[in-house]
């Protein structure tokens, strides 16, 4: 294959607008022979990346974790290309009702914790790891009320997280809810979690989110050029700005991998994937 084909997950109709726009821009003067394909879920995208059926993949953090494991098991090399400025130093929180008697994570013992979808790093896997770090076993010491919306999208669909937050105020309320810091702010600004209505009990250390990953079939020179073009995208460019706004970034940054260590541990603790990247979570049906 002469060009570079990217895989992206269609978690929202806007993904077509974004990648159609980027495709046209990347194929412009001085660009490269670029195309994209869309996946309904990250698992197939990752498998195709490692198998060389797509050259690069716009990976969720969990997709990166699985891709890394699959690649290591098969002896193939992955190359991180870029990440968004908004992919760095995120935190997830465990929030309780402002009037809750619970004052620490340990206080959640025997209580109900609402989470996002089974495969959401930010609203399920990472916050549950935070509970484990406080000595609480999800499903044993705390009851997990999971909101499986958009399973296979690795939490890109906000619905599960939104329902988890809403569960704090349901008729049969959850005692705590897990969400990413930006959604804590979003839900508050929307009025769903009015200011002062919730209290953050604890939050994770910072972690990183999506990463652009080149697989074994990607041509090195094209991958390098692709990375240069992404890094050169200018928020001042009126044609690119709406696309960058839709994709949720102001600029692409060089990749870094240390921000995924927390998720690697969380995946191991939950038994979500094994070391070879095989899906082990029994109730995960992407």
């Amino acid at each position: 294959m002469s060009g570079l084909t990217l895989g992206a997950v269609a978690y929202d109709p806007k993904v077509v607008t974004i990648w159609d726009g980027f495709r046209a821009w990347l194929r412009g003067p001085g660009g490269l022979d670029f195309d994209y394909v869309l996946y309904s879920n990250y698992e197939r995208q990752v498998e195709d990346l490692v198998a060389g059926r797509v050259d690069v993949a716009w990976n969720s953090p969990l997709a990166w974790v699985r891709a890394r494991r699959l690649a290591a098991a098969r002896g193939v090399t992955l190359t991180p290309v870029t990440m968004r400025d908004t992919d760095r130093d995120l935190r997830s929180v465990v929030a309780v009702h402002a009037d809750s008697p619970v004052q620490s994570l340990a206080g959640l013992r025997g209580r109900v914790v609402a989470t996002g979808a089974v495969d959401s790093p930010q609203a399920t896997l990472l916050p549950l790891a935070l509970l484990r770090s406080a000595g609480l076993r999800p499903g044993a010491d705390v009851q997990v009320r999971r909101f499986d919306i958009g399973v296979g999208l690795h939490g890109d669909h906000v619905g599960g997280e939104r329902d988890a937050a809403r569960a704090l105020f349901a008729a049969d309320p959850a005692d705590a809810a897990c969400m990413i810091d930006s959604n804590l702010l979003l839900f508050a600004r929307e009025g769903m979690l009015p200011s002062g209505s919730v209290r953050v009990l604890a939050h994770t250390p910072p972690y990183d989110h999506c990463t652009m990953t080149a697989g074994p079939s990607a041509d090195d020179a094209l991958t390098k050029r692709f990375g240069e073009l992404l890094l050169g995208m200018d928020y001042g460019d009126a044609d690119l700005r709406p696309l960058l706004d839709l994709e949720g970034l102001k600029q692409w940054l060089p990749p870094r991998l240390e921000g995924y260590a927390q998720l690697e541990r969380a995946v191991d603790e939950a038994g979500f994937y094994d070391a070879e990247g095989t899906i082990r979570a029994g109730d995960y049906r992407p």
Binding site: D89, D181, L185, A188, S195, Y235, A238, K250
Partner: protein, 399 residues
Amino acid sequence: MRATTDLDGLGLDEGGHLLVDRALAALRPGERLTVTGRHPALRLHLAAWCREHGHRLADTSEDASEDGGDLEIIKGTAGEQRWRDAHRAGKPDGPPDKRADPRWGLAARGALVEAGGPPIGAEWTERDHVWADVAPRLYAAAAASQWDPATAVDWTATINVPPEIERAVVQLMTYLVENEQAALIIPARLLSQLHPHFREVMQLLATQAADEARHVEVFTRRGLLSGGPLGTSSAGGRASLQTLLAEPDFTAASFLLSVLGEGTFLDLLRFIHEHAPDKVTADVARLAVRDEARHVAFGVAHTAHLVKTDTSYLGVLRQSVERRHAALLDTAGLNTEVFDSLVLLAAGSWEPAAISRGWRAVRDLQAGMDEGRRRRLAYIGFPDDEAAELSALHTRNFM
């Protein structure tokens, strides 16, 4: 000096970002802002907000378990980048620019326009093709002269008109309504293709359409006041009006409708007012003629403005009259029922002497209409002989 802002107890979930944004506006990208506050989730909120807006919260790697306290934002470049290629959509006061940039879209005249966004698909982007210096004053006059059809006319006044004269009034009202409907559609159509940079013209056309909407209402209401059915609508009359709708050029449409059509209507409405057999008829004609005078003033001023900048445009205008005349050659033109109604209205009775007076009055009306058209054509720039020739080609249907 360190830039600081204190949010006190205010959270970013209830407007705190306004204070942060205000303080950041004074800084250059890369400069730092210290934020203090007591909101328990301030650090988490600020980190998320900074990410979303292209800023960075310093020292994010430190243990953030102690929320609150001093936080430092490093200003990003996104704000400056976003406005880098922005430009003003002309000047807010004074005459509009000679050429309206489609990229200004719907932006207010004088606004700072962010680059990007869809260009407006307006057909009329050249000032001289839509403008008249009197437009702002005419719009102000129009805005100040809007009247309420419900109260401007005493609809309870007794109509004590002989039945056959009343039928003539009803016929005239029926005719007026179809003319006003054409006169409403044309400015509305021009408006939809006008670049909004020419704000005063846009506003004036909007009031013009609103004027005609009121005229349609009051003429309809007067037509139905005596409880009878409305009068007739002739095929030739409708054909004549429809040729106005077909004119694609802004100036030619304005010229045919306002200079020639509505100009002729001024005399017609004054005639109806003068010979009205009842107060309601007199009032609706009086109210309409006041509005129409503004429409004529703009049509004349705009056409003259364009001809002044490009005298060859007289040829385009001439062709538009000839084209319309040719299109109407095979039609009867004025509805004979309308013509006869005018005679009867002026006569006031079926006495032969009265009919003779009415006939002469309508002849005088037509002569007056012709004179008015020639005067306006001459003002625009047509030589007198050509003005007379073009006036004679005007539709027999008046509008």
